[in-house]
Amino acid sequence: MGEVFVELKGIKKAYEGVYALKGIDLALRKGEIHCLAGGNGCGKSTLIKTISGVHEPTAGEIYIDGQQMNHMKPLDAIEKGIQVIYQDFAVFPNLTVAENIALNTEIKDRTKVVSYKRMRELAGKAMAQIGADLNPDARLEDLSVAGKQMVALCRAIINNPKLLILDEPTTALTAKEVQKLWGVLRNLREQNIAILLVDHKFDEIRPLVDRLTILRNGEFVSSGLISEYGHVRFQKDMTGHDFSTEKYRPEPSDEPILSVEHISSKGNYEDISFALSKGDVLGITGLLGSGRNEIAEALFGLCPAESGKIVLHGKEVKLKSIKDAVKHEIGFVPEDRLTEGLFTALPITDNTVASSLKKYVRAFGLKSFEMGENTKTWMKRLGVVAVSKDVPVSSLSGGNAQKVVLGKWLNTNPKLLVLVGPSVGMDVGAKAEIHAILRDLAQTGVGVVMVTDDLSELVENCNRILIVKDHKIIKSSDNSLSKKEIEALLMGSDQKEEEA
């Protein structure tokens, strides 16, 4: 067991009288990977900012290397060997790998004249230390997210940190890249560096971290060795309530909502048929590039069918463009909701009414009172946590932003709601809330179609499942499938391909 490097005692932090942290204890040891988990808005970010000196706590004590810190500033924290890698990595897209890694050191050394040779050497050393292999002359904008992250890591490492903090490092990484990152972090642990990781995906952190601390609503919930946690306890501590992983099984209904008959679009999907009755939640899954997204997009006129027909509430509809889809009261929640589904700089109200503006038009201007009232109703119904309806969406957490996208479409009273990756990037609690909302919607007669990679999400929430492979439905089921069976179906055909 390593010695304690940073110790927090009873940390409280208030913003305008509201406590974001309500007395947190935390001990970070050298040579140990500590994971901080908690739902959106649990205080993780505030805690990180407190440790790194960005925020001064309202109450409580911070000890670094046994020494009590008062009025700590970011520079003090850096001098003590604390390095933070933020979610956006804070890198320079227009500069080279070597510059990105070495500039900080050059500034610290008060260099006036830049030596590219020295920067390359510095960068090479840092990359060797974490086992990264990047071209030092490549520009950051040409690197993948994982590459940028490696650069951010190198830049931190070059300062010989004693504590490395990573804020949700895996959000934009593929499973393989996560494994690589974990390898790097294990290596750093060997070098006796303390690591604090913010992550709320239990399966992901389980093989890596030594110790776990869970926060909820700014309060300390539990802390212990990772071996003391299992899925159930993790979820319970994260959200405060037990999640029954009860599968969604609506009463069978013979009231049809949607029927898709033999639609095809060359190169996108072939001969797709399925039907949806009242209460059904239909899930579509498949590997990337299998055509699963395109099928969902067909329902919103984004990837229109070239043949076949789509019947909505007993009437055949032509969905050749988004306009058609909107006319037929179909809502679409895209995967990349921040860029495609929301006007992040605008307030919640404007986003909520964005797809239903027609309702609010009057002779001159808009009925802003009604807009506000409707927004408030949806915020309440969907459980959007925000200071008010007037704050910009960019200030909301991922889960809350997703609820605003949902609210936007629900405000149009859709007959059919199509969602791609409805809970991507959300924590367990927010996921469960979104799922509950979708189930409720289905019960009230809205057709719900979701495309998802998350097999638990699929199995638990969809009573109808389509598995897409090579642009065709290879299996259509009314949920007699288990996760394992779906995996086998997805991978099985993969293996065949490899053999061929």
């Binding site: 804070a90 890198v91 320079f92 897209p93 227009n94 500069l95 510059e99 500039l103 900080n104 050059e106 500034i107 610290k108 260099t111 006036k112 004249v113 830049v114 904008e141 040409d142 690197l143 993948s144």
Partner: protein, 333 residues
């Protein structure tokens, strides 16, 4: 690796720009063999000298992520104020005093830009637009619109100093290349060295690439930005003095309307409107293309009235090139 590298080089924006310039020159030369005369580069140097100097200022600002539309107005103030003072006998017949007053004007308005943008955090377009209006408004209010031509004798001497003079054997016209061409050359070299090899220079690129990251890393972001606008103001006023020397004339609106041309030269030369990009070489090529188009459209038999349109098309081409390149980069990931 090597092959992709050389392929990347031949399809880089810079090389595309070179191809366009060559293609344009070939077309002009085919129609008008006179284009191949030594008079052409001399003319281009003369015509492009001001554009290039202004483009250097603009590039500095654009690298930091801003845009400057105030240099024509600042230039006008910097040439007209010392000119008036000289005309009224307040300034002695000494070129140095003239230059100092001009630089002072550039400094004052550069400071104003700097304060507005770096300390009051006003978006650079709005801030420099305001500075521009203030500067040209001040000129119109204080001095009216009279053109002035009287200037220190030293300036006349400089005007007569030429590196080479080419005399066309057919027409007997002479084409002198002014020694002032050294000013942009020296400026460009010094600037290139500063941008590439000093921490301050790298800081400009860093803040254009990611402002908050530049702050976190420890660059004195505000000071760098502030300095940029001051340097830009000073270079602008120096350019204005050269204008006076070479054109034998100063008016309150002499340089107005140049901003689009200069921004076009920068953008075509690879400066990004979102900041963090721009090289001296690129800006030189951009200036060359714009100047060529401006000066030689008539050689192609195209009416000079089409000039503005042509510059617009070139600008569009430049922006398109960068956005296509960006799209290509995206596709690679």
């Amino acid at each position: 690796m090597n092959r992709t590298k050389s392929k990347a080089f031949f399809t880089s924006n810079t090389m595309i720009l070179v191809y366009v310039i060559l293609a344009f020159s070939v077309v002009v030369a085919l129609r008008q063999p006179a284009f191949l005369s030594p008079a052409t580069p001399i003319n281009l140097c003369r015509a492009g000298l001001f554009t290039f100097c202004f483009a250097l200022c603009e590039m500095l600002v654009m690298i930091t992520g801003g845009i400057d539309v105030s240099f024509p107005a600042i230039g006008c103030v910097s040439m007209y104020v010392p000119m008036v003072l000289y005309d009224r006998g307040i300034l002695p017949d000494n070129g140095l005093y003239f230059v100092l007053v001009a630089l002072l004007c550039g400094l004052i308005f550069g400071l104003l830009n700097g304060v507005l943008v770096s300390y009051l955090r006003i978006p650079s377009l709005i801030a420099t637009l305001a500075t521009s209006s203030i500067a040209s408004g001040f000129l119109a209010f204080a001095f009216g619109v009279k053109d002035l031509t009287a200037m220190p004798t030293a300036f006349t001497k400089i005007y007569e100093m030429n590196l080479v003079t080419y005399t066309d054997p057919a027409s007997g016209l002479s084409y002198p290349l002014t020694v002032l061409i050294f000013v942009p050359v020296v400026l460009a070299v010094v600037m290139a060295l500063i941008l590439r090899y000093t921490m301050g220079g790298r800081g400009l690129y860093a803040m254009g690439g990611n402002l908050s990251a530049a702050r976190i890393v420890g660059f004195p972001v505000r000071r760098l930005q502030f300095t940029t606008y001051i340097v830009s103001g000073l270079i602008t006023s120096l350019t204005a003095v050269m204008y006076v020397i070479l054109m034998h004339n100063a008016s309150t609106t002499a340089l107005m309307g140049n901003e689009m041309l200069v921004i076009a030269a920068c953008v075509v030369g690879g400066c990004s409107l979102s900041g963090g990009k721009g090289t001296i070489g690129g800006v030189l090529l951009g200036t060359l293309l714009i100047t060529l188009v401006q000066n030689h459209l008539n050689m192609l038999g195209i009416d000079t009235r089409w000039q503005t349109l042509a510059v617009g098309i070139v600008l569009l081409f430049g922006v398109l090139m960068t956005s296509l390149q960006a799209g290509r980069g995206k596709g690679r990931v």
